[in-house]
Each structure stands twice: as C-alpha cells, then as structure tokens.
Amino acid sequence: MNFIKITIFKLNYSVFLPLWNSRWIVLPVMTSIFIMAMIIGSVLAAPREVIEGDVQRLMYIHVPSAIISYFAFGITAVSSAIFLINGKMRWDAIARASAGVGVLLTIFVLSTGAIWGKPIWGIYWTWDARLTSTLVLLLIYCSYLLVRNLGNANDTKAARYASIVGLIGYLDIPLIHFSVDWWRTLHPQRIVFDIRPSLPTEMLIVLAIAFLAIFLLVLWLILLSATTEYLHQQIGKLSGDLEQMEN
C-alpha cells in the first residue's frame, strides 16, 4: 500500500505535475501539429474514395467529432455528479465548459453530416439512429446551457439545477440510442456515414490522426473554457470581498 502511494506521488511529481504546468505550451503545440497532419492527411495523403469522391474526406472530421462530443458530454456528466456531491464550484466550471464545447462540436457534426449527405444521397438529413440520437443529445445539452446561464458564474442554484439536467441527460443516452435504433428498424433506410471495417490502411491512419487531433483540440478548448469560467468565479468572489471591505 505504501509502495503504491509512493509510486503515485512520484508519478504526480515527475510526470503529471510538469505536464499540467506546461499545458498552455504543450497543448497548443501538439494540437497544431496534429491538426496540420490531419489536414494534410485528409486532403493529400488519404486516397480518394471511389464511390463518394472527395466529399468523403469529411469523414476525417465528422466521425472523430461525433465520438468526441460524447466524451465531452461525459465530462459534463461526471463533473456534474462530483459537483452535486461536494458542492465545489470548480466542477461546475468544468461541466459548463465541456457542455459548451460539446454543443459546438455536435452542431459541427450535424452540419458536416448534412454537407456530406447532400451530394452523395441527395438529402441533408436522415432519421438515422445515430444522427437522431446526436440531435436529441444536442437539445438536452442546449437546455443544460440555458439553465446554467440563468445565473452568474457563482450561482450555486443554477449550477445545481444544470448539474441535475446534465447528469440525467447523459444517463438518458443509452435509452435514447436504443429507442431510436429500434424505431428505425421499423423504417429501414440506407445506413449512411458507416465506417466500413474494410477501409484501406492509409484511411485508417489518417482517421486515427484526425481522432487524436480533434481530441487534443477539444481538450484544449475545454481547459481554456473551464479556466475562464473558474476565473469568472474568482473575480465574482473577489468583487464581493472588495465590496465588503470598502463598506
């Protein structure tokens, strides 16, 4: 047990802490490198898809964004749960930040899906299970942001209400997914935006790079947004303290 504690301490000190302290240098640099690699890879390196043509290259941002949006909302749900348990406002800051980023990412996913779908299948939208579930998730987290924005950065009541919505919303995801999936089996349609496992290796590599690029970008955005939110909270508290001192 002591050995584990010492190892964790050493890891914290030698790896995590320096990484955390250098996040504002490491993240932008790494994100830029991977985004550049993703752009070059998706535009130049990846082969042209035979049936769908160049529009198919949208897959390299659409698919990773879709998966990572769920990750962002997951952070919101977990942070909301922690906030409800310990009441510390920094968790609300993280929840709010990741919900905002998740909502933007989801809008991006639905937009790229529409742009991809139109030239290939002649439709902007289909009631595909995944797309529909994504749209429902967008609505839930838009309502999260709506509830949270009714109070200022330090409003614990708004934070608590929003956390409840954020937590329930995420726990609702499997139920949304199954219900929409079963609903779609009644009206079978072409499965669009499918990732066929038989993608050539070059495409898979670019997809992996894209995944990492979007992940780093989202992580950076969440950290930036959470830090800003946290600073808003501190400013609010300091203003309150200053007002009291002046009086």
Binding site: V136, L139, R160, I164, L175, F178, W182
Partner: protein, 218 residues
C-alpha cells in the same frame, strides 16, 4: 409512508378545491385532440396509424402542465419551505407530489382515451394499451415532478420547464407510441417496447428520488 399520505392528501384536497388548475389541464388536453383532428384532417381518413402519436403527445403536453402546477403554488406561498423545515423527509414530499400528479394525470388520460375511442372509432380501452400508458406515466411523472421543483421566475417557468423536460422524454414518447401501436395491431414490431417502458420508468423513478433532495437546497 404516513407523511407521504399526509402530503398526498393535502395535494389532492388542494387540487380538488383549485378547480381552475386541473380543469384547465383537462380542457387543454381535449382541445389538443381537436387540434390534431383538424391539423391531420382525421375526419374522413383512417386515423388509426396516427392515434398512438396523438395520444402520447397529448399525454406529454397536458402532463407537463398538470405536474408543473403543484410546485408553482408551493413556491409562491412558501409552504414548500415550511415542509422542508419540518421533520418529514424530502423523499416523503417527493412521493406525495408524485402520487398526486400520477392520479391527476391518470384521470386526464382516462378522459383522453374515452374521447379518442368515441371520436376516432378505435377501441383504445385495451389492456395492453393501458399497461403501456401506466408504465410510461410512472417514468414520465417522476421525471417531471423532479424537474418542476426547479424554482424559476414566472416568466421563465412556462417555457423553460418544457424545454428541459421534453428532450429527456423522447425515449418514453417513442416507446409509448410503438407499444401502443403494437397493442392496437397498427404495426408489427418485434422490439420489446413494453419492457423498455418499464426500464425507462424504473430509471426515471429511482433517479428522481435520489436527486430530489438536491433540488430544494437554497
């Protein structure tokens, strides 16, 4: 149990006396049926395929209005605070409100089913349909009871609560419509919608009980 019954009896008594409240929900649900009849031109056409959707959307909208009313009054009069400051647990308050909303909504649903049966010449008084409605209503009422305890200023409340509640209830709506369609032999679906409704209700019910005490903190 004793305190739940006290809260339930109080809410039922208030609902009975404040006739404007539940009557307006009742009339609203009847009006909705008429609106759907006109909007989808159901007079001459075969209305059966659309019926489950009409039923469940009516339940959802009138249910939201009905369930939102009880907390609204409590927060205006401050009596919710008086209950919270008393020795009863918040879970008792939740159960009392939940059962009152369940009874109120069940009465409205019964009226809608009877109206639907008469107007659309389809026998909706069917064991499977009623079971689907009952299961769905438990999950629906528990979630809406939890969320309607949020304290908002009047001008936000009317719009904000449905905006929060409706997306969360989409799985319930889908399952309710499909289970009812299957029960009325409108569609042949192999998916276990009734079981899904049961799972959703259990999830909604347990989640609401756990989260309710957190809502009332000032």
């Amino acid at each position: 149990m004793r305190t739940t019954i006290i809260v339930l009896e109080k809410d039922l008594r208030i609902a009975w006396r404040d006739k404007a409240g539940w009557l307006s929900s009742l009339i609203f649900s009847a009006i909705l049926i008429f609106i759907y009849a006109f909007a989808f031109d159901l007079a001459g056409t075969n209305s059966e395929p659309l019926l489950p959707g009409i039923l469940w959307t009516t339940f959802l909208f009138s249910g939201i209005i009905t369930c939102n009313q009880s907390f609204q009054q409590e927060s205006v009069t401050g009596t919710l605070d008086a209950m919270i400051a008393s020795p009863i647990s918040q879970t008792s308050i939740f159960f009392g409100k939940f059962f009152c909303n369940l009874i109120s909504l069940s009465i409205i649903q019964f009226m809608i089913i009877v109206l639907g049966t008469i107007m659309f010449q389809v026998n909706l008084i069917n064991i499977e349909v009623i079971l689907a409605i009952f299961l769905g209503t438990i999950g629906f009422v528990s979630l809406v009871t939890l969320l309607s305890a949020f304290e908002y200023r009047e001008r936000f409340r009317a719009v904000l609560l449905p905006v929060i509640e409706l997306p969360l209830l989409i799985p319930l709506l889908l399952a309710g419509v499909q289970a009812s369609s299957s029960a009325l032999e409108i569609s042949n679906t192999s998916s276990p919608w009734l079981i899904f409704l049961g799972i959703f209700s259990l999830w909604g019910f347990l989640g609401s009980i756990l989260l309710f005490p957190l809502v009332n903190e000032k």
